[in-house]
């Protein structure tokens, strides 16, 4: 019944607790399940309770009415027919007859025999039915003579009461024969009705349980239909955040989630368009610089080739040239070289900006490489090199040369000789320090030394460099996965520290080329390492 039902409910809660430990308490799914469950529980329990009580009243009342009518009938037919003072035997006999009716109740008749003694007559059916089983309150009510008036025509009435004895419900009723005679009591077991009601309660409990399970499943289904799109939306938003701007959601239906998906798609489209516009504008300006440098190269190639002819003329046959013309020729020669360097650097910068710069890796002996770099630029006298031979690294020799030439060239220009270059190993990287003995770099300039076209001081409008040297050096370090930092030495002068990874060890390199196909560009152990610029 109710108890059994409660037990069932407790079991369900316990099971759900196990599930909730896996779910986040705040998760939408759990909340939906809980809400659905509560609604289903409330509805099922109230419906069951109402149905139970209505049924119970109906069943009990019907049984009771039938029994009481029968009992009353029997009392009138048989008990009233007894003499006013019956004997024990007469009472017993009549009680037995009365109990023989369809309703199968036990009867107890109480009367006074001719001798004035109280005698009892009990139907044999329930041997235990004695006056003790009749509640005192009922006995009192039955035997109490009431005033007879307009609304109450009889002094005695039929009274009944429901009692429970040894867990079995009973209906007890009693009345007196009007006008003198025995008092009759009846006891009817309500056990069959109780059993019926019990099984009804069980059915209702089971129905409630089923409703709860059904509601949980429904909640799961509802949660899935709601959460699936939400999850998809979340995943799409994440992808969008990762830069995949072409992420779109499939829109189906016309509900709020479809609206949300549509809004997301519109936002993503707008974002993609904006980014594309910006990228296009950026690309256009880069293209312009790249195209311009390319265009500059063609005339510059012709000029360079001819300038050399002029230069040789200057060197070979000094004096043969007009002294007025000679400085002009010298200027053209030197400025052409400068222009060459500038265009070359500009090209390099555009390659980094466009991300097309590539590494051509090779195994390099650092001391040899640095010596060659210094030697090629006739800086041997001005540079002290502190490096041991045999220190190898896997890097792009041309790019290392560019870095070194720019760092050492910058040190010589601004710091003055001697410039000290030291090489050492640190973990998996190579550290090259270039230290000059100049005045150092002013603190406010320090953060800008790697900026393009940044001149250390406005009073030096024309430096010999292109203004791109250190920036290019830094880009070249970055493409290796390295770094350059600028600082002032505590002693004096500026220190540029170049840190480069030693590169992959031979064992970690690509598979042996011998196994690769010929003809393709696969047989290049250096590989194409994409720049991170």
């Amino acid at each position: 019944m109710t108890q059994a039902h409660q037990g069932g409910a407790r079991g369900w809660t316990g099971a759900r607790k196990g599930v909730s430990s896996r779910l986040r308490f705040t998760s939408l799914r759990l909340r939906l399940v809980v809400v659905f469950g509560l609604v289903a529980l409330t509805a099922a329990v109230s419906a069951s309770a109402i149905a139970y009580w209505l049924n119970r009243e109906a069943v009990l009342t019907r049984t009771q009415d039938a029994v009481l009518r029968d009992f009353e009938q029997e009392m009138q037919n048989r008990a009233a027919a007894l003499p006013e003072r019956p004997t024990q035997d007469e009472l017993q006999h009549t009680a037995g007859q009365m109990a023989g009716s369809d309703q199968r109740f036990s009867v107890l008749l109480v009367g006074r025999d001719p001798a004035g003694r109280t005698v009892y007559g009990s139907s044999g059916g329930l041997s235990g039915f004695s006056l003790r089983d009749v509640p005192v309150s009922l006995r009192t009510a039955v035997n109490k003579a009431q005033k007879v008036d307009g609304s109450n025509k009889q002094p005695y009435h039929l009274y009944w009461q429901r009692i429970v004895d040894h867990d079995t419900p009973y209906l007890v009723a009693g009345t007196r024969v009007i006008g003198g005679g025995p008092t009759g009591y009846m006891l009817k077991s309500l056990e069959p009705e109780a059993k019926d009601l019990n099984s009804l309660a069980w059915s209702l409990g089971i129905a409630t349980g089923l409703a709860l399970i059904g509601s949980a499943l429904l909640a799961q289904a509802a949660a899935t239909t709601v959460l699936k799109p939400v999850q998809r939306l979340g995943a799409a938003a994440r992808r969008l955040g990762e830069g995949k701007l072409d992420t779109r959601l499939r829109v189906s239906g016309t509900d709020e989630l479809a609206d949300l998906s549509r809004t997301f798609n519109n936002a993503a489209e707008a974002l993609e368009k904006r980014v594309a516009d910006m990228a296009a504008r950026d690309e256009a300006s880069r293209r312009f610089v790249a195209d311009m440098s390319h265009e500059l190269r063609t005339p510059l190639t012709a000029i360079t080739a001819v300038t050399e002819v002029l230069e040789e003329e200057l060197e070979a046959e000094t004096g043969s040239m007009d002294p007025m013309i000679e400085p002009a020729v010298r200027l053209v020669v030197s400025e052409t070289r400068r222009l060459n360097d500038l265009v070359e650097n500009l090209m390099e910068v555009t390659r980094f900006d466009a991300g097309t710069a590539r590494l051509v890796l090779d195994d390099v002996d650092l001391a040899d490489q640095i010596t060659a770099c210094i030697d090629a630029r006739a800086w041997l006298d001005a540079v002290e090199l502190d490096a041991e031979r045999g220190l190898h690294a896997r890097l792009d020799p041309r790019r290392l040369d560019v870095i070194l030439a720019n760092l050492i060239g910058n040190a010589l220009k601004h710091g003055g000789s001697p410039v000290r270059v030291s090489v050492r190993e640190a973990d998996d990287s190579i550290v090259i320090e270039v230290q000059d003995h100049g005045p150092g770099i002013p603190e406010d300039v320090l953060p800008h030394v790697f900026d393009r076209f940044y001149k250390a001081s406005a009073s030096r409008p024309r430096s010999e460099g292109s203004g791109l040297g250190l920036s290019i050096a830094l880009e070249n370090a970055h493409i290796h996965g390295g770094e350059i930092t600028a600082a002032n030495s505590p002693d004096s002068g500026a220190v540029f520290t170049l840190r480069l990874p030693r590169g992959t060890s031979p064992a970690e390199e690509q598979p042996a080329e011998d196994e690769l196909k010929p003809g393709g560009d696969t047989d290049r152990p250096q590989g194409d390492v994409k720049g991170d610029a």
């Binding site: 060459n340 031979p506 196994e515 010929p518 047989d523």
Partner: protein, 231 residues
């Protein structure tokens, strides 16, 4: 520069008038005999009429481009080719080397550098000591400057031949790309190691039985290349 009994003749294929004129002027002053062509088609025609010792070839040409010209020459000829590239974008260099060029210079080029490259390439064809070496079915005759495989003459460019000679001079010994660049190309310390890789690739295609699994010219990882006598 060494004394040449014969003035080397060059064919310069370059579409830009100013560059062509300027380079012609510069190279002539360096002591070369220079013929010029303004397009790839003209260049190929001129090549058939007069056999130059070397071709300086611009990559960006109207009509058929420099790479295609290079490939067409290589089909029949082992003539040295130096590419003149306005774009030093790495991918162009790689395509150029794969199409069979021996060396490349990047514009704007200094006449002196170009001259040095030209002379280095020309020197590769010069004969040296009188001996021969054989590696399996491959026979290298250093006096005749010929290479035969199974008795058949192999058509090698001077650069490929020089690379094979340098490797065969030190059989079993690994040579780094930088070493090979100095020995074969006479480049300075900044030589482009892809020249070596491209040339090894082409050489393997000619001398190896199965170029994809070479048994003669082996790659030594992290170092360079090595010529092995077959077991």
């Amino acid at each position: 520069m060494g004394q040449n009994e014969r003035v080397p003749s060059l064919l310069l294929i370059e579409d830009d008038d100013a560059i062509r004129t300027a380079l012609e002027l510069s190279l002539t002053r360096q002591g070369h005999r220079v013929a010029t062509a303004a397009s790839g088609e003209d260049g190929l025609k001129l090549l058939r009429e007069q056999r130059p010792d070397l071709i300086v070839l611009d990559v960006m040409l109207p009509g058929i481009d420099g790479f295609e010209v290079c490939r067409r020459i290589r089909r029949t000829d082992q003539l040295p080719i130096i590419l003149l590239t306005a774009r030093s974008d790495d991918i162009d260099v790689v395509v150029g080397l794969e199409s069979g060029a021996d060396d490349y210079v990047v514009k704007p080029v200094q006449g002196r550098v170009l001259d040095a490259r030209i002379r280095a390439v020309l020197r590769r064809g010069e004969r040296e000591s009188n001996d021969a070496a054989s590696f399996g079915s491959l026979v290298i005759d250093r006096s005749a400057m010929t290479v035969t495989k199974n008795g058949e003459d192999l058509q090698l460019t001077p650069t490929e031949l020089r690379l094979l000679l340098e490797l065969s001079r030190r059989p079993g010994q690994a040579l780094s790309r930088q070493q090979l660049l100095r020995l074969v190309w006479e480049h300075d310390y900044l030589g482009d190691s892809r020249l070596v890789d491209a040339c090894v690739q082409r050489l393997r295609a000619k001398v190896e039985d199965v170029p994809s699994s070479p048994t003669l010219i082996r790659t030594v990882r992290g170092v360079g290349y090595r010529l092995d006598a077959p077991q």
